[in-house]
Symmetry: C2
Subunit: 336 residues, 2 copies
């Protein structure tokens, strides 16, 4: 485990924008446990300036190409870009699939772009946490725009990309990927729609389908109505317009943007509290074997899962017991 | 809020197999809070006989049709079937999309089949919990096979369908839905693959792609190697073979099946503990406004999220503090 001094030195190099330090710091936050926490603690005071752009959509719509083009366009305007490609790939197929090195070749020799794949090594919850922490590392390193690109159209991928200041949903003409995929919880989180592969047949229909879904929403004057843009990312077409729309969205700022940042932080804290409490409950508050015994009892229908949860909480929580039939109260420190 | 007697009476009717009671009981477990818990408590002793079949795959591959055909085939062999169609549809588009009534027409007049859509009303975590609880209700009602059908190819959908005794992954020829979608975390959870729409061009290639991915795995003699089956669900072709494969998988049983049931229960208990603890921490252990203040401080980079989580845990947890720098210990009940 890294020492305190080692972490502080690494953090200082991150803040200086040292690329190898950024890579090492992200590896630290990818690990479970104390080294992720101490890494974030060491850089956190230097965060808060990066703008987080979430990019989500079904597999095969061309997200990576679009993100690479976005990065090039932003670079041409002098802005630095960090990219986190979140890939919940299977342990079965072995690690990240996208290949950072291949993607980095697009930006070879440019220190203003940093691309990193975030692969799931275990629970999805862990990946979401690591991605948030990696975004903080890039923020501390001074990257002005941080793109979080998620593979997949599931609710969890949507939740990861929602942890952004602006969310861009990418689709393409034709196939089951059109409106069907959009139904799966992405309509309400999109700030921008991009129909990529706009040279293919059906682009008008795909755009019209999105417009008709947007039409169901009751936008009032002054509300942001998500624009539906068309791109041919492989050739860079339409990418300038995407950047312009992102800038318009950012320029609005205001109360909505602040609320969103706070909601993101709230979710973050909840996740950390939950994760640490479970570890405490299972491994410290309960006697060894107790959790396993409760599992056996529920599996055998001796007790129900809610009763099992109550018993664990009775043991692990002080003060006002959150159960229906509270255990005798103890006077814990700082509880009123 | 329902009374204790009311819940017990409803549970008794569920156990008798009363369809309207089953529908009402599922509505109860869909709600947040105490009425879900009391419903599960009331039926739990009568659970443990149902066999859970998870069905997952990308939108548009024909999962619903396949599940309806599976139900008809199982019925023809005298087995009763409950179907939970998990649809994380958006609040934007307004509730469940699949239409239970349309689907139920396939099974009109047959009390041995029960179909219910489970739609996301808020957090995905809530949907996962409600789906598990609804499966318990169907189990208590005596349904012998309970199908949990998830829309989408995301990791969270995969985790919902993994909460089953056997998991069936459905795909179709062509498009980006093939191997790309399979990469997104489903390879390692599939016990059976079905290539549906097997009359379309590219079926051989789709099957071969799956086989080649399976080939990467090192199956030993006696291991279950997921079969790759082909169906034309709209015509019922190949569905008998799917049922036969499900039966073969079930007949193996043994230690693996038991471990899986226990892992499911373990996840269940953890989710409940986490959910209840967060509620306790935020609304009872902390003074009003404290959580919001911590959120402000993290959003303003005054403190980092890990430190905020530590402060919450210090307040809400008794005994051995789960933080790196423990607060003074209190002697909570039953700890030590």
């Amino acid at each position: 485990m890294p020492t305190h001094d080692d972490t502080r030195e690494l953090a200082a190099r991150v803040v200086d924008g040292d690329r190898r330090a950024v890579a090492r710091a992200i590896s630290r936050v990818e690990s479970e446990g104390a080294s992720a926490a101490s890494m974030v603690r060491a850089v956190h005071a230097r965060t808060g300036r990066g703008y987080l752009v979430g990019v989500t959509g079904a597999p095969g719509v061309g997200k990576s190409t679009l993100v690479d083009r976005l990065a090039l366009t932003l670079r041409s305007r002098g802005r630095t870009v960090g990219v986190l490609a979140v890939d919940p790939s299977s342990p079965f197929s072995g690690g990240a699939v996208l290949g950072d090195r291949v993607r980095m070749q697009t930006h070879a020799g440019d220190d203003g772009v940093f691309v990193r794949s975030m692969a799931s090594r275990g629970q999805l919850g862990g990946l979401a946490r690591a991605t948030s922490d990696a975004a903080l590392v890039l923020d501390a390193a001074g990257f002005e725009v941080i793109v979080i690109e998620t593979v997949g159209v599931g609710q969890a991928e949507v939740e990861i990309s929602r942890a952004a200041d602006v969310t861009l949903v990418v689709t393409m003409p034709g196939g089951g990927d059109g409106v069907q995929a959009l139904k799966a919880g992405v309509m309400e989180i999109a700030d921008l729609f991009v129909v990529n592969k706009a040279d293919q047949a059906g682009v008008e229909r795909a755009a019209a389908e999105i417009e008709s879904l947007l039409h169901l929403n009751d936008y009032r004057p002054g509300d942001w109505r998500p624009p539906v843009l068309r791109t041919r990312a492989t050739e860079g077409r339409g990418v300038e317009e995407v950047v312009a729309a992102l800038d318009r969205f950012r320029a609005r700022g205001g109360e909505g943007a602040e609320q969103r940042r706070r909601a993101r932080v709230r979710t973050r804290i909840r996740q950390l509290v939950s994760h640490r409490f479970l570890d405490h409950a299972e491994h410290r508050a309960l006697d060894p074997g107790t959790f396993d015994r409760l599992v056996e009892h529920v599996a055998g229908a001796v007790i129900d899962p809610y009763t099992a949860a109550d018993r664990i909480l009775d043991r692990a929580v002080s003060g006002a017991a959150p159960t229906a039939s509270p255990a005798p109260r103890s006077k814990g420190p700082g509880l009123g």
